[in-house]
Amino acid sequence: MVAPAGLRVVRCGGGGRLSSARPVFSADAKYLLCASGDFVKIYSLGTGETLRLMGGHADVVTGVQLNPRNHMQLYSSSLDGSIKLWDFMDGIPIKTFTVGCKLLALYALTSCEDSVFVIIPKSGERDTFQLVSVKLTKAAGQNIEAKDLSVVLDGVDASPKCTAFGREGEYVASVKDVNLQVYFFKRKQLNRFSVNTMKTKGGNHDFTCVVCHPTEDCIATGHADGKIRLWRNFHHKKEYTFSTLHWHHDIVLDLAFSVEGTSLLSGGVESVLVLWQNLSDRQKDFLPRLGSGIEYTSVSPDGTLCCTLHTDNRISIINSNLRFSRSIQGLIKSADVKTGLVVDPRTKALVLNGEPGHLQFYCLQSDQQLFSLDIVQRQYIHQAGLKQVDLVKVAFSAQGKWLATVEEREEVTDPELQLKLWFYDEETQSFKLNTRINTPHDDHITDMCFRDMDEMEDDSLILVTTGRDCVFKVWVMVEDTDPEAQQSVSWSCDFVGSYHNYQATNCCFSEDGSLLAVSFEGTATVWDSVTWDLKCTFCHPPGKIRNICFGRLTCSKYLIGATDHGFLCCWNLLSCALEWSAHLNILVLQPDPLSEHIAAVSWLSKESSLFVFKPNEPRPIYIQRNLCKEKIQLAAFVPRDEPETDGSEKYLWLRRSQLFFLTDTQELMTLSTKPLEERLTASSKQLAVEESLPVTPFSLLLGRHRRQQSQEDIDLGKLVIHNKQEQDSPAVKELLHTPAHVLPSASFLCPIFIKSLLISKENKSAEEVADEVEMESEKADDDSDEERDVTEMEQEDTSPSELLGEMTCKLSKHQEKELRKIRKMDYSWISAF
């Protein structure tokens, strides 16, 4: 069975990692341009929204630079060997220059207009890279070959942070390991400096990043031992000087000079942004606890903002006075998703590890983080080699009223474990800690599940945890008899079960909650959930059970287990016998909560395959081979808001819920029958750009006023009259067009001006209004098209009314043609008024 062409794997989460290039501010500091996987993303700095996703590169985008000649254009380079020129306001690719080898970084300079600099791997040698300048010919056509390469520097580092161009493009500085080389373009002189020759105590002096001062001859370099060196006088090979700034205790990840070069921003793994005033050690400001390590920093051209791009795929926008302004975050990519993909029944959001110690609720529809719940509630210390408390397990009760989390800290002797139970508080609309259990198990907790029953009352809620200490524990709610106690319920252990001293690995409740299946290494045991009797055991030697789940709905009599020896088994609970088994190396087994389908993802020699089956028949109903090249770690079925109706028979299993995967490279993917859907249509995008102006109280006030007015105007059909009044008033014209030196005093002009702004009496009779409309429509012929269109549209809308009926008759043929055109146009934006 071959996968039909209709179903395809779609990456979601709005592109890939952001951390492949330094983000760039647009010239007016309203937009932020980032490389995101294969795309270039544009964010509005005012709202934090993603405005546009520009795709076209076939591989990861490695560099984004504004076109120095035109600030509305940008260059992007990619590993696929092409440089693209975009008009980013409209999202149109203008030109594509094909270089032909991997481009690792891109630099554009104002001084050399017709060429850009890129870092490419040196042909023939592995792991050596060179900085070359690429001549961008002005030939016509979309696709242009750019083969005119000239080597500037040899043996540079592949990282874009390790090369920087000096003021006005006079020199280029590049660092690699312990060497700094500076090349002066005019003199064609290459100076090399090395920190190895200097007298320093032990430590790692390797350069990590370099930036050049915007106005002076000064180079700042960051080092792996946390030092920042400021190099001056590097024109001379011997008499160069440098000063050291030291605050970071670990590697300096990125540096940025302010626009005037008076201060320096530096960031490292400590997740503290340091502002060095006057480039001196004396005065420094800090912005601590930014969440995670700072990968890139950049400063807007007008100096009002700076942004930091973090290792967990988040962007923080920071004011010039080091005040945190906003954060742009989609799916936060934590180092390791230990919690699995869980769906919050309340918000239908995907729940997984977020920031360290936090649980992120990620909305799939809007590609936004709904909120981040602090589970660990401890200060996170950003330091390598520290064993931090980590969130490892999450479970929701059926209605999302209760949330259970497990956090642990690796220790040599015994792990520090905590089981926390959170109650959803309707008033505050967030989870509130109810019970904290220290060391619920003596060893790591392997699995956890709630008894998943919709109709059950709350007090019969049961939580089961399985641990490597060879037991599973049943936790129940206990009501506190003392009426004065703060909370009426708390959780406590009700039952401890074990089976032959095997480690308990998985647990799962049947759909009706009457049976609990717990797998103990190679054996699956089934327990009665009322009396906690061992009912029966299943095993399929050899191999330990990796996953276990019950069938649902019509298949509720089956128990499915996957072993690490490559078998998928289905046991019948009524006959207590093996129903069928298949030889598959299943990594993920995920039942659909809304149907009887079960999705299984197998991993076989570098490719993942998806099998969807019903437990009652051994033949899968759907197979997708070669789902992706990466190993799929986790999967989750997310219920759709409304069931899909147009799906064909084959994709019945996708009708009610959508399947999401998370690969081991933290890529979130889904299966879709539709072609890649654009998140925003072209027109609405344009609108988004316009509307993304910052909302001030004044603009709100004005907006409301205008809206009211336009509402009235639309009702009366006299939008134009009003506009005319404003524009054609002689007083206004006079005021605007007379040169300032011949104008009379302001006190003289003021009454006329104000009078012109006043709206003439509203109590005109309807006929008068109609007359005016007529008059205006004739007058408006020479006016801008768009404006008149609006009026006519409005008139068309209200045409049933007798008053305006005669007016439409008078339209000329030319006008009628236009009218037809207008009808075809999209006026959805009017609804915004």
């Binding site: 912005l287 606890r289 930014l290 969440g291 923080s316 945190f324 954060s327 602090d374 509630q377 401890r378 200060q379 210390i381 330091q383 080699g385 520290l386 064993k387 931090q388 408390v389 800290r409 015994d414 520090e416 904290r436 220290n438 003392d482 004065e484 252990c493 039952f495 401890v496 079960g497 074990s498 009396t531 906690w532 009797d533 061992l534």
Partner: protein
């Protein structure tokens, strides 16, 4: 960007007695006043009218005490032999008492000589009382009879000889003027109606009845005898409602509090237990020096008076209610500047901008925020924190360990500080809630300061103390394991007998033992 998160100090649920509203209420008494009487106090009775004097019957005297008086304000001592059961009438004007010689005497509170003397019984009269119509007296005595006397005439109205042993207790119904109850050593409680010739109801208590009590509603009867306190529903024909066995010696006296919500019982085992009358669970208990014979609670629960076998009268007065107003006054700012603008009430259309709340960090948190580990440790080793809230000290130590700076924080300390640290560790390391952290700390201290062992006598002594504490704890744990093993065998035999749910019983037993283990 997140703000600094303070160190989480884990609060552990307190083991042992839970603090409830009841314990707070019953603890609100001052230290007792002890008054020595001439003999065993067999009855204490509060006057039902203010100023709530109380009559104490001990030996051959009846003492009347005022509310706060240490000395009796009045004494009735016209008895040749022991007096019994001095009881006030409802209006507080008359007092009746039985005696060993068999006569019942009626006193006026203001007078000294008895108003009436009922001479009929030949043997000691242990129980007397007024019926609720105020004109009749009931009595019970060692001649097995229960009698009814008329006060105006001074004659016996009726005598019931239904008990087959000494009658030692009784009470009259407050609802019906004709009904009274007597309890006897023949294990029965009998309910008499003055209008009938014989008893109306007989309740089998099962033990010699020492005390009986009727609830205010008159529907429930409480009887005490042997180790049992039993509650009966009279309206259901004497059905047993609940049987309480909370004392381990004979229960001698019963008493209701003023609201009728709590029942008190005193016993020869030196305890007074307080039960809730809704759940019949013990909500509090008092401990006394010697066996208790009698017990009384003044109206509004102002005073608890307990009489003992050795003749000591124990009087506890309620503490006056603490006033909270004073503390509120203190909080108000002293200066005008402090109130400036605070009294301004925002108008309806005003847009309120709240001032960001300034978070106050504890000293150790400030130090931790600025990564000063040694100073943070110093801050939590200061006496108030170290002595009163050791959990804070341990939490900070754990946080330092988590940050990987515990070793450097512990290192480089002088003799005095090491001494202090070691004292703390040696004292707290055996507490189960602190053990995991403090073991690490002790490990590190011994590791760091190994080279200086032998240089200071004080530090050496502390090291020895630590060793001793840990050695003791190990022995203790071994013992506990032995007990656990024994219990396991017991449970194993138990599970063999009962064939149902072997798995559950076994594991339940295990968890229980584990819990007790951790509790210790």
């Amino acid at each position: 960007m997140a703000t600094y998160k303070p160190v989480v100090v884990q609060a552990f649920p307190k083991l042992g007695e839970k603090i409830t509203q009841d314990t707070l209420y019953w603890r609100g008494y001052k230290t007792p006043v002890q008054i020595k009487e001439f003999g065993a106090v067999n009855k204490i009775h509060f006057s039902p009218v203010p100023p709530y004097n109380y009559a104490v019957t001990a030996s051959s005297r009846i003492h009347i005490y005022g509310r706060y008086s240490q000395e009796p304000i009045k004494t009735f001592s016209r008895f040749k032999d022991a007096a019994y059961c001095a009881t006030y009438r409802d209006d507080g004007n008359l007092l009746v008492a039985g005696s060993e010689e068999g006569s019942i005497r009626l006193f006026d509170i203001s007078g000294r000589a008895p108003l009436r003397q009922f001479d009929g019984p030949t043997k000691a009269v242990h129980v007397v009382g007024f019926l609720s119509d105020k004109y009749r007296i009931f009595s019970g005595g060692d001649d097995y009879s229960s009698s009814l006397w008329d006060i105006p005439n001074g004659t016996e109205i009726i005598s019931y000889s239904e008990h087959t042993d000494y009658v030692r207790c009784g009470c009259a119904s407050k609802v019906n003027a004709d009904v009274f109850i007597t309890g006897s050593y023949d294990h029965t409680v009998k309910l008499f109606d003055a209008r009938t010739k014989s008893s109306v109801m007989t309740i089998e208590h099962g033990h010699p009845v020492e005390s009986v009590l009727l609830f205010q509603s008159g529907g429930l009867l409480v009887s005490a005898g042997g180790r049992y306190v039993k509650v009966w529903d009279i309206l259901k024909g004497g059905q047993l409602l609940v049987s309480l066995k909370n004392h381990h010696k004979t229960v001698t006296c019963l008493c209701l509090n003023s609201s009728g919500q709590r029942l008190l019982s005193g016993s020869l085992d030196r305890h007074v237990k307080i039960y809730s009358t809704t759940s019949y669970k013990v909500v509090h208990s008092f401990n006394y020096a010697t066996s208790i014979l009698s017990l009384a609670l003044s109206p509004e629960d102002e005073t608890i008076v307990v009489g003992m076998t050795n003749g000591v009268l124990n009087v506890k007065h309620r503490k006056p209610e603490e006033r909270k107003e004073e503390s509120q006054k203190k909080r108000q700012p002293a200066y005008r500047t402090h109130v400036k603008g605070r009294t301004y009430m925002p108008k309806q259309e005003d847009f309120c901008v709240s001032k960001p709340v300034k978070r106050v960090l504890r000293k150790y948190d400030k130090m931790l925020k600025s990564f000063q580990s040694s100073k943070a440790l110093d801050a939590v080793l200061e006496p108030p924190i170290r002595l009163h809230t050791p959990e804070v000290t341990v939490a900070v130590m754990q946080e330092l360990h988590r940050r990987g700076t515990l070793r450097s924080a512990l290192a480089g300390r002088d003799e005095k500080q090491i001494n202090l640290l070691l004292t703390f560790v040696a004292r707290r390391v055996i507490e189960p809630r602190f053990t995991p952290v403090l073991v690490t700390v002790a490990d590190m201290i011994t590791d760091i300061y190994q080279p200086v062992v032998g240089q200071s006598a004080i530090v050496d002594r502390q090291f020895l103390k630590l060793q001793e504490a840990i050695g003791k704890e190990i022995d203790y744990q071994e013992e506990l394991l032995e007990v656990l093993g024994m219990m396991d065998t017991l449970f194993a035999t138990f599970t063999k007998k009962s064939t149902t749910y072997p798995e559950e019983n076994k594991s339940n037993g295990l968890t229980e033992t584990i819990e007790t283990n951790t509790n210790n």
